[in-house]
């Protein structure tokens, strides 16, 4: 579906000269983009608590803030880095320092120039302490050597793909120093009407309804954005979003905006398209995890047996209406860089699972092998059904299951603060880069009591820690990929936590909306290049 011309260059090889090609609307051939129009967009969730939440705040503020705030670079759908605010990022020979060349002539929405000082402020005051956290642990200093050059210095070698992933990722948004300096970044009132360098300016946020953006007439990329106006509206009910599409009052919805059974019906007319690309850098999975603090689940054979007791194809087909597939290993299958199929698979086999449990010392006694408490996090509706299914699957193995599907806050507390579960069903979305978003579920330093979406199982394996530690400093990309695959193999065979199904979210979009899918993370698209063929 993507009509976006693939500008296949790595930013490392792209010098300032190449970057100037960014100055033109880079849409070779196919169709000439049309200027103007209003796009009404939404996503499969609710209104954000604030238009921009500096530490992250989930998908909804990420969706609203990325139309206004930009990053230094971005990751395209074919997993290449492209310049945005930086035209070049070069590592030193020892990979302990990186020189960032910034784009000239970029201004903030309030007219102030964007300079190296802004990036220094972001690196030391925003990214490291607030948004990126452990990812930038090694960052020692940032220095502006001239108004358009910043040098980042690190304590240890930092792999290039890793650093660029951070800069192109959710935590790499660039905020204006002149507005945030000296204030508490997290509670600054400007977060409800952020000022950035992006293609759209916030015009008005009507709480409970919509946010309206206007075209940034002084955007650094002349001719962009194509739209005059962008409106993000929120419907709390998926069926109402489907009705809005049908009535022509909604143009695009990312991340499963409408009920799964409606997708085929809406897409059959040809006026509406279901697009599955663009979720690789924020790949969602439904996971199952086993609390290692319990003697039973401390045994690897038990975990492996329980994995085999679950028909994951059934979950994909029935719960997700085919919009998911059984996971293989710890890495999402859409991650074409680090995914490997050379890992332990756990095909559905109840008989074998029963035998493994017998062998592990848990035979059926008095009608039950043992009792476990299953917590399925109730933040997605699907998790209710998955919880019920997994309960039945375990009961088929003669395990007594006590299922709870608590609400969001209670789930967070039981799984990640109190570790009050034996087996938990949860979700996560990881980037292409595995450190730390994927690895922190397995490493010992991922155990942080009270911090959600990390190692809540208490699993600790020095061998695995060592592989991840090597990956953290390995600067040779092929060698790093080998390490990543070693990690995947070990994590999968140990199975303290594993994805059960890889989710395949869809974007629902009207067929006259063009160029909506340039990057590997739709939720974070700036939509500067999006245009309407009407």
């Amino acid at each position: 579906m993507s009509r976006f011309s693939r500008r296949d260059f790595l930013i490392t090889t792209a010098g300032a000269a190449l970057a100037s090609s960014m100055a033109e609307p880079a849409l070779a051939g196919l169709e000439t983009p049309k200027r103007g129009g209003t796009l009404i967009g939404t996503w499969g969730g609710f209104e954000p608590q604030s238009l921009f939440v500096p530490p992250g705040g989930g998908s909804s503020p990420y969706f609203t803030s990325t139309k206004v705030l930009e990053r230094l670079i971005r990751l395209t759908v074919d997993l290449k880095f492209e310049p945005v605010l930086a035209v070049d990022i070069k590592p030193s020979a020892d990979f302990k320092s990186y020189t960032i060349k910034l784009r000239e002539g970029v201004t903030w929405h309030d007219g102030n120039p964007f300079t190296a000082e802004d990036v220094v402020f972001n690196a030391m005051q925003y990214w490291k302490p607030i948004s990126a956290g452990v990812s930038l642990d090694a960052l020692e200093s940032a220095e502006a050597t001239d108004p358009l050059t910043v040098v980042l210095k690190f304590k240890a070698p930092v792999p290039e793909f890793f650093l660029k992933s951070v800069l192109a990722g959710k935590s790499g948004l660039v905020i204006p120093k002149h507005i945030y300096a000296g204030s508490n970044i997290i509670t600054n009132p400007i977060n409800n009407a952020p000022i950035g360098t992006g293609p759209f300016k916030v015009k008005e946020w009507v709480r409970g309804s919509h946010v309206e953006y206007l075209r940034n007439e002084k955007y650094w990329n002349p001719g962009l954005p194509y739209l005059d106006r962008l409106v993000i509206r929120w419907w709390r009910d998926p069926a109402s979003r489907a009705a809005a599409f049908e009535a022509g009052q909604l143009d695009i919805g990312t991340f499963n905006p409408i009920p799964m059974p409606d997708i085929a019906r809406l897409a059959s007319g040809g006026k509406i398209i279901a697009e599955t690309k663009g979720y690789a850098n924020s790949a969602w999975v439904t996971t199952i995890e086993f609390n290692q603090r319990r003697d039973i689940f401390n045994k690897r054979e038990v975990r492996q047996a329980l994995m085999q007791a679950i028909d994951r194809q059934f979950i994909a087909d029935t719960v997700f209406f085919g919009r998911a597939r059984p996971s293989l290993g710890a890495v999402h299958s859409s991650n074409t860089i680090f995914f490997t199929n050379d890992v332990q698979d756990y095909p559905f086999d109840v008989k074998k699972a029963g035998k493994m449990l017998d062998a592990a010392g848990f035979p059926v006694k008095g009608g039950s092998r043992f009792k476990l408490s299953l917590v399925s996090a109730g933040w997605f509706e699907e998790n209710i059904k998955i919880g019920q299914y997994v309960k039945q699957a375990f009961e088929d193995l003669d395990i007594t299951v006590d299922l709870a599907v608590p609400d969001r806050a209670t789930s967070l507390k039981r799984i990640y603060s109190d570790y009050d579960y034996d087996v938990a069903i949860s979700n996560n979305s990881g980037g292409i880069e595995l450190i730390p978003s994927t690895t922190q579920y397995y490493t010992t330093d991922g155990i942080v009591k009270g911090a959600a979406f990390r190692n809540a199982t208490g699993y600790s394996n020095p061998k695995l820690d060592e592989i991840v530690a090597k990956m953290t400093v390995e600067t040779d990309e092929p060698k790093r990929i080998v390490l990543a695959k070693d990690f995947d193999r070990l994590a999968t065979i140990e199975a303290p936590l594993l994805p059960m199904v890889d989710l395949e979210p869809v974007t629902i979009v009207r067929s006259d909306v063009r160029n909506h899918s340039a990057t590997a993370d739709f939720m974070g698209e700036s939509w500067a290049e999006l245009w309407l063929d009407r």
């Binding site: 939440v53 530490p55 409970g208 009705a243 967070l412 911090a451």
Partner: protein, 322 residues
């Protein structure tokens, strides 16, 4: 009359205090806290950052200190700050209050108009096809889940016929002066107010019918007929007026819930009301926001009760004697 108003207002202070303490305790008894939800969403794991946020949100203090501080600030008419919305609680509530009030008043008007008319009609034509049809409709609208009714109305009137917009309160970016704006809001209001109003109307219709039938049997109605009043005058001036008391009671109860909005109807029609705000705040354990809505709500209940008492006096002068 003044005594009633004063007595009602005197009840406000203990009421608000009880609302605060009770809900504060309830929220703190629920597992998880705003702090958990916020740090989870923000994926914060750095212990120093966690401590800083604990301090920012004030959750590093003992619970009773938090409660005392909150009561103290409410006494100074300050509903506190919501870190989730990153704005003062009162501002966030006031942003969504007009939409809620418009929707609830419109729905209540629809309910009163439709319900009372249907009830009167059913009682006048008791045990005829009219009566049965109205009873059937009342049962249907009462039993049909309002989200289903809302979606069906959307599909029919907004998608198929295109008469009304699919949700929202205003056409975005229209802005052609106050009159056009009011018309625009009314255009958006029709479906949600009807969907919600018909649900309430069902109750009104049933209550009105029963109440009318009871009054019809009373002696003064026979007297009114005997002295030769026209049937319509008997129904409107004598029976209806006396049958209205239970309706006023219902109305008073319902006015008290106005501030809560309707989560379901707001969700289906993406109406920017307080119901969704309250729901989200409960789910994220955002107690300043929950308490803010409830405190304002309890004030409204007190005012609504006082108003209902005054209305009783007007409708039934016998009450004054007691």
């Amino acid at each position: 009359m003044n005594r009633i108003v004063l007595r009602r207002l005197a009840q406000v202070i203990p009421l608000v205090l009880a609302v605060i303490v009770l809900n504060f305790v309830l929220i703190h008894l629920a597992p998880g806290s705003l702090f958990d939800v916020m740090t989870a969403e923000q994926q914060i794991s750095d212990p120093a950052m966690l401590d800083q946020l604990r301090h920012t949100y004030g959750v590093d203090q003992p619970t009773w200190v938090q409660l005392a501080k909150y009561i103290w600030s409410v006494m100074r008419l300050d509903l506190g700050f919501s870190y989730r919305q990153n704005a003062p609680v009162l501002n966030v509530i006031m942003d969504q209050l007009p939409a809620t009030v418009i929707l609830m008043l419109a729905a209540t008007s629809v309910a009163l108009l439709v319900g009372v008319t249907a009830g009167v009609l059913a009682s006048v034509r008791v045990n005829t096809i009219w009566d049965n049809l109205i009873s059937l409709a009342a049962v249907f609208f009462f039993a049909a889940p309002s989200f289903w009714l809302g979606i069906m109305m959307t599909v029919l009137f907004a998608v198929k016929l295109g008469w009304f917009p699919v949700g929202g309160m205003r056409t975005i970016g229209a802005g052609n002066g106050a009159f056009a704006d009011a018309l625009d809001v009314m255009h958006h209001l029709v479906l949600p107010a009807t969907a919600l109003g018909l649900f309430y109307a069902a109750t009104y219709a049933r209550v009105m019918r029963a109440s009318m039938l009871e009054v019809f049997r009373l002696d003064f109605v026979r007297t009114a007929r005997a002295k030769g009043l026209s049937p319509s005058r008997v129904v409107v001036a004598h029976v209806m007026r006396n049958a209205l008391l239970p309706i006023v009671t219902l109305l008073g109860l319902q006015l008290g819930t106005i501030l809560g909005g309707s989560v379901v109807i707001e969700a289906v029609f993406s109406w920017p009301g307080i119901g969704s705000l309250l729901f989200d705040s409960v789910m994220s354990r955002n107690f300043p926001m929950v308490l803010g809505v409830l405190v304002l709500g309890s004030l409204l209940v007190a005012v609504a009760n006082a108003t209902v008492d005054l209305l009783y006096l007007r409708l039934d002068p016998r009450i004054r004697a007691r």
